[in-house]
Amino acid sequence: MSGIEFEFQLPREDFKLQVSGTLPDRGITALFGASGSGKTTLLRCIAGLERAPGGKLVVNGEVWQQGPTFLATHQRPIGYVFQEASLFAHLGVQRNLEYGWKRIPRPHRNIEFEEVIRLLGLEHLLGRFPHQLSGGQRQRVAIARALLTSPALLLMDEPLSALDLDSKQEILPYLERLHDESRVPILYVSHSPDEVVRLADHLVLMEHGKIVAQGEINQLLTRSDLSLSRLDEASAVLKCRVAAHDPDYHVSYVAIDNSGLKQKLLVPFKDLPTDHPVRVRILARDVSLALQMQSQTSISNILPARVVEVFPSNTPFQVIVKLDIGGQFILSKITKRSAALLHIEKDKLVYAQVKSVALMR
């Protein structure tokens, strides 16, 4: 039995946590919602830092909480990265890192000390004390310290929210590398759509202590019944693989995963080996529609697509068109007028002209 099966009810001051479900045991799952939606409380319940009476938690077939069984936090094979700097101020970086590492019996360690140091770029910081580090550096040490406990599950509670923009930009690549190189499933609490779009494979949407929706990121970002598809920044994330490079024009081609149509996108050159997984973000407002394949245009990415549905946007004069480009979806934000003139309706075959593609990694 794989996955993280949970059921919690816990009254708080301003909401009542009331959740149940199963989360995937791989990749990054983002718990996304406004503050007060209960995402941190859910994370703390999973860590055992919060005790929800009558709750249930089974991780990969192992019971962590059920009936009278309640594993204390220190008995759970988790790593936890807190929102703010949580390094032990009285210990140097090296000893902070060793704190959890030393408490894991040798046979249970599945990651090398040096490996983690390299992964988070801490080589030069080992001799320092926490007060001698920047906010971003501290959070990197905290992430490494959590990883060094060889967790079966890594819990991250808005690890970037207390950082300034520069430090965020500093850490995101490390998190992406973590996603690519480590097999530890990660639960990532966030209220930032940007972080979610960059990192998450799976999305759990929370509101007032309840789970509103959950699913694969591409599915959830493009669902017409959720507010995500109506944001100004509404976008779709596509899972792709590097297909080829064209050094003459300094561009790369990436193939869209599970596309029966073998669709490819042209992106700015990225120095990655062929077949390396990448993710691509396409904003709804960057996609226009045409009924015929345009050849005489400066737009490089034109994809044949099938209209899945047309629904209202956050403005009165525009609509969102959800398009199937072969297994994955993208959104297109066009004017109501254009939609009417082109007779855009369900199942119509169109050409999606993508003005701009952001390669996330």
């Binding site: 204390a72 936090t73 220190h74 009285h90 959890g100 926490p130 007060h131 959590a146 406990t149």
Partner: protein
């Protein structure tokens, strides 16, 4: 001068009393402070008040009741007699017991404040890093509360050295057994031996100043800062 011969037992007894009291209180006050800092029990306020009592009670009141309790008719007195320990008043052991009670708030309060300032977060972090509750207490709470522990030790020590009222009520003034410095100074003044009183008093002033200076140095010396 012959005062050194007369007063050296008093100096020795004072130091011994202060050392014993500090050591016992460190062992006693630390868990008590930890409990007070972390408990949600309703008994907390009552226990807190009880611990603080010696701060507001006149030492003579405290000494009087200790004398009654430890006396032949008192509960504690009967217990010590049954155990074959004899009676505690007018003995050095009696002084130690009295000092421990008298100096309790000076130990508990700085340590409790240090634990409270620490907050729950570092302990939660340690728990997610597989540290058991006892492990967390010794590797996180105690080292991080070190300034508080140090303050508690110095205050307790200095406070015990300067104790007068309780000692007088409970220990009397037995040369070589219960006569401490403060009592010796009192005796010298009574006997109009001002030069001897001066010497001991000035000595105490220098001692107190040095202790506090040392404490500040020790607290400054640590390599880390809170973040």
């Amino acid at each position: 001068m012959d005062f050194s011969v007369v007063d050296s037992p008093a100096i020795w007894i004072t130091l011994k009393l202060a050392l014993f009291t500090t050591a016992i209180l460190l062992l006693l006050a630390t868990p008590l402070a930890w409990w007070l800092a972390t408990t949600h029990s309703r008994a907390k306020t009552a226990v807190s008040a009880l611990v603080a009592m010696p701060l507001v009670l006149p030492p003579s009141v405290l000494g009087f009741y200790l004398l009654v309790m430890m006396g032949p008719a008192g509960l504690v007195g009967q217990l010590t007699q049954t155990l074959g320990l004899g009676l505690l008043p007018f003995t050095f052991s009696g002084l130690v017991v009295a000092s421990v009670i008298y100096s309790l708030p000076f130990s508990v309060q700085p340590i409790q404040a240090a634990f409270e300032q620490l907050g729950n977060r570092p302990l939660e972090v340690a728990a997610t890093l597989r540290a058991s509750p006892l492990d967390r207490f010794f590797t996180i709470a105690l080292p991080m509360a070190r300034p508080g522990l140090l303050t508690a030790m110095v205050l307790t020590f200095a406070h015990t050295v300067g104790e007068f009222g309780v000692v007088l009520m409970l220990g009397g003034n037995i040369e070589g057994e219960t006569r401490v410095l403060s009592v010796a100074i009192y005796d010298h003044v009574e006997a109009l031996e001002y030069d001897k009183a001066h010497l001991l008093s000035a000595g105490l002033i220098v001692f107190s100043f040095t202790t506090l200076l040392l404490l500040q140095q020790l607290n400054k010396k640590r390599k880390w800062q809170p973040v």
